[in-house]
Structures are given as C-alpha cells and as structure tokens.
Subunit: 184 residues, 2 copies
DNA sequence: CGACACATGTAACACGTTACATGATTTG
DNA sequence: CAAATCATGTAACGTGTTACATGTGTCG
C-alpha cells in the first residue's frame, strides 16, 4: 500500500487495481482488506486522508513516517527466518518422523501436483504480454520456486531409497524427564 | 500436532519437543500456542483428553475424525495457490511498478543476504548428524529454496539490463472510470 | 537456596479472510 | 429497467504471536 501511495494520493479500489496490475493477480487482494489496512495504516500514522479533492472518493496519502517506513522496507532484505513455515517441508518431515505414513506416496503425489502447476505457470508466462515486466518476474519467481521444489522432491526420493530398510532412524521422541514419571 | 499424536497420546511439552526434533528447530514453536492449538483441536473434535494415566500431565489423544483429517492432509498435495504471498516477489514487483526506487540496489542487497543464508544453511547441513534424516531434508529444502532465489535474482538483474533505458513500461495505473471524474 | 527447566495455561493483540450492507454508476 | 461494476465500509471469525501467571522438579 505504502509503495503504491508513494507518488500520489489514491483511493481503495485504485490501490487494489494497481496491486493486482503489478503482481498479475497472482495473489488476489480482497477489497475489504484494503480498507481495513488503510484504517490501520492511518492509525499508525503512515498514511492520512488526503486533503486534495478526490471527486467523491476517499483518497489517502502517504506521510513522512510512511515514507521512512517504505524506504526501510525496500532497503531491508527479506530474511529467511521471517518467512512463514514451509508446509510442504513440515509435512515431509513429519511423514518421516511418525510411523505408518507412506512417504513415497506423499512425495509422488506432490511431485505430480507441482509439475502440473509448473506447466500452468509456463503457459501463463508464454501468454504474458511484452510490457508487463513486473508480472513476468512474479511468474518467473513462482516457476523457479516450483522447479526447486521438484528438484527437492527428487532429492527426497533418492534419500528415501538410500535409507530403505534401515530402522526408523533415532525414534525422534522427546525425552520424558525421568523423575516426573511418578508425579502426583 | 495430529501427526505427532497418531501413535500414542502425548502432552503439550512433548509435542513441542517432538515437533522441533523432527524439523530441527528451524521453525521454533511457541509452547503457549501448543496449548491453544490443542484446545482448538479439541473444540473441533480432532483430539480429546486422553483417558489413560498421564503421570500428572495432561495427555491428549487423536480421535477418529482427527485420523481422517490427518490422512487427508498427507494425501492432499500442497497447492501453490494455498501458499502465503511471497514478500520478496511482491517487493520486487512493486519496486518496478513505482518510480523512484533503485531496483538494482534492492536486488543486490537481497542477493547478498540470501547468499549469506545459503552459507549458513550449508554449514548447518555439514554439522548435522547422520541419523537426523527429517531435519536434513528440511535444511535441504531451505537450501534448494535459497538457490532458486539467487537464480531468480540473477534473472531479474538480467531482465533489468535488457530493459535499461526503455520508458517505464505501461505505467500500470488502475484505469480510473471516466465518468466518475465529475462525481458529487 | 536460587536459578533454571519442566509444565499448563490465559489474556491481549495483530492480521488475514469471509461475508454482509449500502449506495452510485455504467451498460446491455 | 436490470444486472454488473464501482466504491466504501463493518462485523465475525480463525489463527499466530507475545507476554504474563503459576506451580513443580532438578541441580549446582
């Protein structure tokens, strides 16, 4: 939001439109949230209701604090620790950690699904117009991610084969503190 | 949680311990959340307070509904659409979409940061013991992801150079509906 | 004894998601 | 005119995060 407001005051619908124009509707943005977010940004002093005429629409403009925040965001790299937990990695790790799960099947189903996504993404990339560079980069980001995921899944299968037959490695149970066994 | 409860009833602290044993403390799990999550799972009928003795601890066991849910989770691949928005992709897309941002600098800073993470991950992988296969896979998942990110960043820089000097492509502004210009 | 890990919770908060309400304007 | 789009909100809900409270057990 702050990035989009950097040049000129804008209003809710416009913000959603420009966000989706920039990211190619890859991550649809609920219009309701735009307004709640604008309210919260205003609460935090990062935007304010624009003084200039808005032709009947509620325009918002970025504040100095908002510009600082924005510059900070662009300057600070996205840290790996700050990213959300990777559901797929967790799923595979748990499939390995608990008995009775056909890990191979999980890997293969995921592989099929990801391959299909990759195909769809490639199709989208082909159909993308020349001018929409930012959208192309977003699509390519997802393509690179999907490719890495497939490589990782292949790597997982190789690991599985190498460890085939070996006893479930180091039961991975949490050591129950001994003396608490006989607690009240 | 459901996956860890599959074999036998367990208690809060134990669940956190085993989760972190399986994922290698890559994503630290707040103990408070374990309890709130257990409460919510119980609310939804996926776990219940275990009937067996727990030596003074509150044990939980999975229910039939929980087993169904769990089997479903393992059977269903993680869809690309269901993943959280990629902050880095959004940042780069917006850096391109709005004027006055040094995109190159953003890319280069991110590249440095990601390279450093990659080094750290590689170090962790070397230091990981033999038996901890699920943790190794998690680390490798992050390594594959970081490598893909670097490749993508390189690709972005190449794109930037190719488009150097060209006018900012297709201003990407949301078309303001014409007749609304003169609204009350 | 004092510090620390174990163990179980609760409250407050932030944020994203969905659904709903309301009205103006455009378009077939 | 009717339907769709534009436009601005609000309410309810789910979940993750942080901080706090409380008590037991272990260990130097």
């Amino acid at each position: 939001m702050l990035a989009l407001l950097q040049d000129e005051p804008k209003y809710g619908y416009q913000l959603r439109g420009e966000f989706e124009a920039a990211t190619g509707a890859t991550w649809p943005l609920n219009i309701g949230q735009v307004y709640t977010t604008l309210t919260r940004l205003e609460r935090d002093g990062l935007v304010r209701a624009a003084s200039s005429e808005g032709d009947g629409r509620s325009m918002y403009e970025i504040t100095d604090a908002g510009r600082t925040e924005l510059a900070n965001w662009f300057q600070t790299p996205v840290a790996r620790e700050s990213r959300p937990r990777d559901e797929l990695a967790i799923k595979l790790a748990l499939a390995l950690a608990v008995p009775g799960v056909d890990v191979s099947a999980v890997v293969q189903r995921q592989r099929m699904s990801t391959m299909q996504s990759l195909q769809e993404l490639t199709r989208q990339k082909r159909n993308s117009a020349e001018g929409e560079i930012s959208w192309q980069l977003v699509i390519e980001s997802m393509i690179f991610g999907a490719e890495a995921e497939i490589r990782w899944l292949d790597h997982c299968e190789a690991m599985l084969l190498r460890h085939r037959g070996k006893p479930r490695p180091a039961p991975q149970t949490y050591d129950v503190p001994a003396d608490q066994e006989a607690r009240s």
